[in-house]
């Protein structure tokens, strides 16, 4: 190699395009700024790595498989205070309720604002109102929810207290208010994707004599499926990560406490906890104060968030934006067809 290089004359340096900025000719202050850019970029990576590694170490040393099946128990001893099966069920329930409400509502609102938007003032008002909700603190949403759901006529959503008042705390109520966290995200993501669709898609559909409603349902929404999906997943992430609404509207009790005998409905009307409130209550700031349980639950929580993150990255991948939705549907449909034939 070295011999070959010595034999052939080197090409002039100027011809080669510089692979990255050479700062040697810059004034000192500019060079400082350049290195500050590097420092902040690498710094962010290090912080993220530190958080993940720290939680990984803590999680691996404290998570036991039994924690996933044991209910929490009131005990000061870490060995007897049980696991977090109830909070995991709680997280799933609240996320499911919130998503089931927010997803269709967000898509419908986005479709209306982007395709109909008449009268114009109403659509502008809806947009700014949703933007305000996106910026509103979740504590405020929670106390508003408590105010509404402790009204008598909504008593069937939670339970009546001993004195006859409505408690206002239940999975249903928490889930409904949680949907307000996810709604702006689903809305914004869907609306953004709809705005980016070329008009020729709409024109082609109208040219075939399709109405606007049909165009939205059959052409536009199917082609923004990845955008909708990533909005939903982002919304789920926010729901899973929120603590304030859980503390105020779900009671953050030790165990899920169903009301009445009906299995699922009883749980939905009862109080309970999620992973976030479990972490909060077991941290030094809460009543439980057992570090190990808090770390273990926080680790599980972080893993869920990481998985959702990976999903978003997958959904919004730049290369082929529609492959996930398309392929999944195709596979599902083919699977369903096969199922029908074999049966």
């Amino acid at each position: 190699m070295a011999g070959a290089e010595a034999a052939s004359p080197r090409p002039p340096v100027a011809v080669r395009p510089a692979r990255r900025a050479s700062t040697s000719s810059w004034p000192p202050l500019d060079r400082v700024a350049y290195w500050l850019c590097w420092a902040t970029g690498i710094g962010l990576c290090l912080i993220a790595a530190a958080i993940v590694l720290y939680m990984l170490v803590k999680g691996i040393s404290y998570v036991r498989l039994s924690m996933f099946v044991d209910s929490p128990a009131p005990s000061l001893h870490q060995t007897q205070s049980g696991g977090f099966s109830d909070p995991i069920i709680g997280t799933l329930l609240v996320t499911a309720i919130g998503t089931v409400i927010a997803a269709p509502l967000g898509v419908a609102l986005a479709a209306w604002v982007s395709e109909y938007a008449r009268p114009a003032w109403l659509s502008r008002a809806v947009e700014s109102a949703l933007e305000m909700v996106a910026g509103a603190p979740s504590v405020v949403l929670a106390i508003f929810g408590l105010l509404i759901f402790s009204q008598g006529f909504l008593g069937s959503l939670s339970q009546h207290s001993a004195t006859g008042g409505v408690l206002g705390q239940s999975f249903l109520n928490a889930g409904i208010v949680m949907s307000a966290l996810a709604l702006p995200l689903v809305f914004a993501s869907t609306r953004e994707s709809l705005a980016q669709l070329p008009d020729r898609l709409r024109e082609a559909s109208y040219a075939l004599g399709k109405t606007r409603a049909t165009t939205i349902r059959r052409v536009l929404l199917p082609s923004v499926r990845p955008g909708i999906a990533s909005g939903i997943v982002l919304g789920m992430g926010r729901i899973i990560g929120d603590t304030a609404i859980i503390t105020i509207l779900l009671g953050a009790t030790l165990r899920n406490e169903p009301v009445g005998g009906t299995p699922l409905l009883g749980t939905l009307r009862g109080t309970g906890s999620t992973l976030t409130s479990y972490v909060f209550n077991n941290s030094p700031a809460g009543e439980g104060n057992s570090h190990e349980k808090a770390y273990a639950a926080a680790f599980v929580l972080l893993m869920i968030v990481l998985a959702l993150n990976a999903l978003v990255t997958r959904l919004t991948g730049e290369r082929e934006p529609r492959i996930w939705g398309g392929r999944t549907w195709r596979v599902l449909r083919r699977g369903a067809g096969r199922l029908r034939w074999t049966r």
Partner: protein, 334 residues
């Protein structure tokens, strides 16, 4: 919005179905709008007794927040005051200090980081940074709080606060790891990724010809970024700052965990000690007193705190909208 479709609807039943769909969706939108309006109104109504009993003094200083709230919880008014007596200044001050400090720090960090991502980062680093930023934005605040109170706070308590400093203010306030600095640092880490994401988008959409023009004039790369890219993206960066401010303002859980257990009005005149004094922001106070939301006067006071937060959030979203306006002129989406 596409407006050219109305003429195309010729099928009669199809047109009717279309109109029905439009009306249904429009009604849905109106309902959501009404619900959001109702939220603002009900919170304000519920908050009114607290404001009307205290007047503008509500926002002023005087007395201990913790004592006042305890009096409401127990139903025994403080001597010489009504049961509603409340002075929110320590909480407002706590919110202002933590939010402002975190936002200013995050603005600096995120601007450099966004420039790094768009201009200087080699491709592999850039590919790594994207999930990193998404991760930092996605970590639940309770996890940040847990790390703060179990890892960062003890470290600060042991290494940064000397015993002499603790002794010097022992009769006024107890210093420990949960304090203004801890809260601000973690708050900064929480809001930086939001700002980086928006600023990066804006920087990336600055027309390349503008930067090339500057480079062709012999301006070095940093100066080009500083004078052309950042200046063009300034409205987007301002909008990102506003968004981050709203997020910081509403952060309750993490700050309830790490910013100190007492609604203390940290005093900047204390010098360095100021940095280690506990504070408690508005949102954290609601969370910490959430058991008392149904107790008459205490509830009204907490809703009043909520109303202040809600109005601030509304004003901030207005500010964000105003900040984004100049971008339309350049035809940049952000």
């Amino acid at each position: 919005m596409y407006t050219g479709a109305r003429k195309q609807d010729h099928g009669r039943s199809g047109a009717r179905a279309d109109r029905r769909a439009e009306r249904t969706l429009g009604a849905l939108a109106a309902a959501v709008l009404v619900l959001i309006g109702a939220m603002v109104v009900t919170v304000l109504i519920k908050a009114w007794p607290s404001f009307s009993h205290n007047g503008l003094g509500w926002f002023g200083a005087g007395g201990e927040v913790d004592t006042e709230l305890r009096a409401m919880r127990e139903g025994t008014p403080l001597a010489g005051h009504s049961i509603y007596y409340f002075r929110a200044w320590p909480l407002l001050w706590g919110t202002l200090v933590t939010t402002l400090a975190a936002v200013v720090l995050a603005l600096i960090v995120s601007t450099f980081a966004a420039v790094f991502v768009t201009e200087f980062a080699p491709a592999p680093v850039r590919r790594a940074l994207e999930p990193v930023i998404r991760l930092l934005a996605g970590v639940p605040s309770v996890v940040y709080g847990l790390i703060g109170i179990l890892a960062l706070a003890p470290w600060i308590n042991e290494h940064l606060i000397s015993n002499g400093r603790k002794q010097s203010v022992i009769y006024v306030v107890q210093l420990n790891g949960a304090n203004l600095t801890t809260g601000t640092i973690i708050l900064m880490v929480m809001i930086t990724p939001i700002m980086v994401a928006i600023s990066t988008n804006a920087l990336a959409s600055v027309p390349i010809a503008w930067r090339e023009g500057s480079a062709a004039l012999g301006v070095n790369r940093w100066r080009t970024i500083w004078r052309v890219s950042l200046r063009t993206a300034r409205p987007a960066i301002a909008a990102a700052t506003v968004l981050a401010t709203a997020r910081a303002l509403g952060e309750a859980v993490m700050l309830a965990m790490v910013s100190g257990s007492r609604a203390f009005s940290a005093n900047p005149l204390d010098g360095v000690t100021f940095l280690f004094e506990p504070v408690r922001p508005l949102a954290a106070e609601i969370l910490q007193e959430s058991e008392g939301l149904t107790i008459g006067p205490l509830g009204h006071t907490l809703y009043a705190i909520g109303a202040v937060l809600l109005v601030s959030a509304g004003l901030l979203s207005l500010a964000g909208w105003a900040a984004k306006q100049p971008l339309k002129r350049y035809g940049i989406r952000a």
